[in-house]
C-alpha cells in the first residue's frame, strides 16, 4: 500500500489528445480515460448531442506521486485556461499488485 495522488481532469473532447500529451510529458506512468462525458460549467452545457463533437467532454484520471501530480497540475493549467475544464487533486492509496 502506498500513498499517492489522484489527478482528475475534465476537458473538451476536442482537446483530449493534447491533455494526454501534457500528462505524458509530466511523467505519469499511466492514465485512464472516459470519453463522452457530459457536463455543465462556466461555458454552458456540454450535452454531447451535436453532430459535431464540439459539445462533449472527456474525463481523465491518473495516479502518481505527489511531485508528479503537482507537475501535471501546473502543466495543464494553460490548456484549461485557454479552453476551460477542471483539474482536481486528491489522496488515494494505491494497492500494488506486482
Amino acid at each position: 500500500m502506498k500513498s499517492m495522488k489522484k489527478v482528475e481532469v475534465v476537458v473538451d473532447s476536442v482537446y483530449l489528445s493534447r491533455a494526454l500529451e501534457i500528462l505524458e510529458k509530466s511523467g505519469v506512468s499511466g492514465y485512464t480515460v472516459i470519453r463522452d462525458v457530459l457536463g455543465k460549467g462556466e461555458r454552458g452545457l456540454m450535452s454531447g448531442d451535436e453532430p459535431t463533437d464540439v459539445f462533449k467532454n472527456s474525463y481523465i484520471f491518473t495516479v502518481c506521486e505527489e511531485k508528479t501530480a503537482l507537475r501535471v497540475a501546473e502543466e495543464i493549467k494553460p490548456l484549461l485556461k485557454k479552453v476551460g475544464g477542471l483539474c482536481l487533486l486528491s489522496d488515494v492509496v494505491w494497492i500494488p499488485h506486482r
Partner: protein, 322 residues
C-alpha cells in the same frame, strides 16, 4: 414564390421527418437517436454521394463545363467568408467574426443532398461533378478565416500552427471521405456502381429521411439558444444565405451553367457547415463562442434552407432559366 413549390418541398417524407424531429423537442417527448447512430447515417450519406458523384463523373468525363463549375466553386469559397467577415465585424469581436464567417463560407452536405432529392422529385437532375465542387468548397473558408485572424488579431502568446490548420482544413473526415469515395466511384465506374447501388443508391432517400429526423431533433435542442444569439445574428443567418444564393445564381447565369447545376451551386453557397468547420474553429479559435456559430448554423440556417431556401432559390432559377 409559387406556393406549390413550397408545398412540393415540404410534402416530402424527408422534410416532414425533419419537422417531426423538431416537434419532438418542442413538445418535450424524450425522442432521441442516440450516438453513434446519427454518425452511421452521415457516413452513409457521404459515401453514397461520393460514390455516385464519382460514377457520374466517370460517365461525363472532365469537360470544360466541369472545370467552369469547379472554378466558380473555388471563387465563391474564397469570396463568401471574406465579405461575411466584414459584415460580422460591424457588431462582433474578431474571434467570433472569424468563426462565423468560416462556418458560412463552407457548406452543408445534408442541405445539398436534400436539395438534390427535391430536384429529383421535380424530374430534373444535376451533374456528378457538383459533388466535386462541394468537396472543393468545404475547406477554403477555414484557411481564409485563419488568415483573417492572423492579420487582424494580436494574440499575445502564440501564433497559429499552420500545419495543423491545413490538416484540419483538407484532411478532416468529411472532406477525406467525400474526396476518397469520389475517386473510388470514378475509378470503378459503371461496374463498381452497379455493385454498390443496392445499398448506396436505392436506399438513399430513406436514409436521408432517417437522418433528417435526427437533424430535426438536434436543431430543436438548439432553438432555445436562439434568443441568446441576438437579432443581428438571427438576421445574418437568414439573409446571408439568400445573398450568397443570389450571387451564386447571378454568376451561374453569367457563365452559362445548366439549370440543375446552377440550383445545386446556389444551395452550396447558401448553406453553412455544422460539422467540419465548427470542429476546426473549436480547435483553432477557442476564444470564439461555439454556442454562436453552431446554433446559427444548425438552428437557423439549416432549417431555413431545408424548408424555405430550397424552393425559394429554385423559384428564382426557374424564372431565369425557364
Amino acid at each position: 414564390m409559387g406556393i406549390d413549390l413550397l408545398l412540393q418541398n415540404v410534402l416530402n417524407p424527408p422534410v416532414l421527418l425533419f419537422l417531426l424531429g423538431l416537434g419532438a423537442v418542442l413538445l418535450k417527448t424524450d425522442l432521441d437517436i442516440p450516438q453513434p447512430l446519427p454518425k452511421l447515417f452521415s457516413l452513409y450519406l457521404l459515401i453514397a454521394i461520393g460514390l455516385h458523384g464519382g460514377y457520374e463523373l466517370s460517365k461525363s468525363g472532365i469537360t470544360p463545363d466541369v472545370l467552369k463549375v469547379l472554378f466558380l466553386a473555388m471563387l465563391m469559397a474564397v469570396l463568401v467568408p471574406l465579405y461575411a467577415f466584414f459584415i460580422l465585424r460591424l457588431k462582433l469581436d474578431i474571434y467570433n467574426a472569424v468563426a462565423i464567417s468560416a462556418t458560412y463560407g463552407s457548406i452543408s452536405a445534408v442541405t445539398f443532398i436534400t436539395a438534390g432529392s427535391f430536384l429529383n422529385t421535380l424530374g430534373e437532375h444535376y451533374g456528378g461533378y457538383m459533388v466535386a465542387a462541394m468537396t472543393l468548397m468545404e475547406s477554403p473558408a477555414i484557411i481564409i478565416g485563419l488568415v483573417l485572424l492572423s492579420l487582424f488579431a494580436k494574440r499575445n502568446n502564440e501564433g497559429i500552427n499552420w500545419g495543423e490548420v491545413f490538416r484540419e482544413a483538407f484532411l478532416n473526415p468529411s472532406v477525406y471521405i467525400l474526396m476518397g469515395t469520389l475517386i473510388i466511384g470514378f475509378l470503378t465506374g459503371e461496374k463498381g456502381w452497379k455493385a454498390m447501388e443496392p445499398l448506396f443508391g436505392v436506399l438513399f432517400k430513406g436514409m436521408l429521411a432517417f437522418f433528417l429526423l435526427d437533424m430535426g431533433i438536434v436543431a430543436g435542442r438548439r432553438i432555445g439558444e436562439i434568443k441568446k444569439v441576438g437579432l443581428f445574428l438571427i438576421a445574418f443567418g437568414i439573409l446571408l444565405p439568400i445573398l450568397n444564393a443570389t450571387l451564386a445564381i447571378a454568376l451561374a447565369k453569367f457563365l452559362g451553367l445548366a439549370k440543375g447545376d446552377a440550383f445545386m451551386f446556389s444551395i452550396l453557397c447558401a448553406s453553412a457547415s455544422y460539422i467540419a468547420v465548427p470542429a476546426a474553429m473549436r480547435l483553432s479559435v477557442p476564444e470564439a463562442n461555439p454556442s454562436l456559430y453552431v446554433t446559427m448554423s444548425l438552428a437557423i440556417t439549416f432549417p431555413f434552407n431545408i424548408a424555405v431556401g430550397i424552393p425559394l432559390y429554385y423559384f428564382f432559377i426557374n424564372m431565369l432559366w425557364g
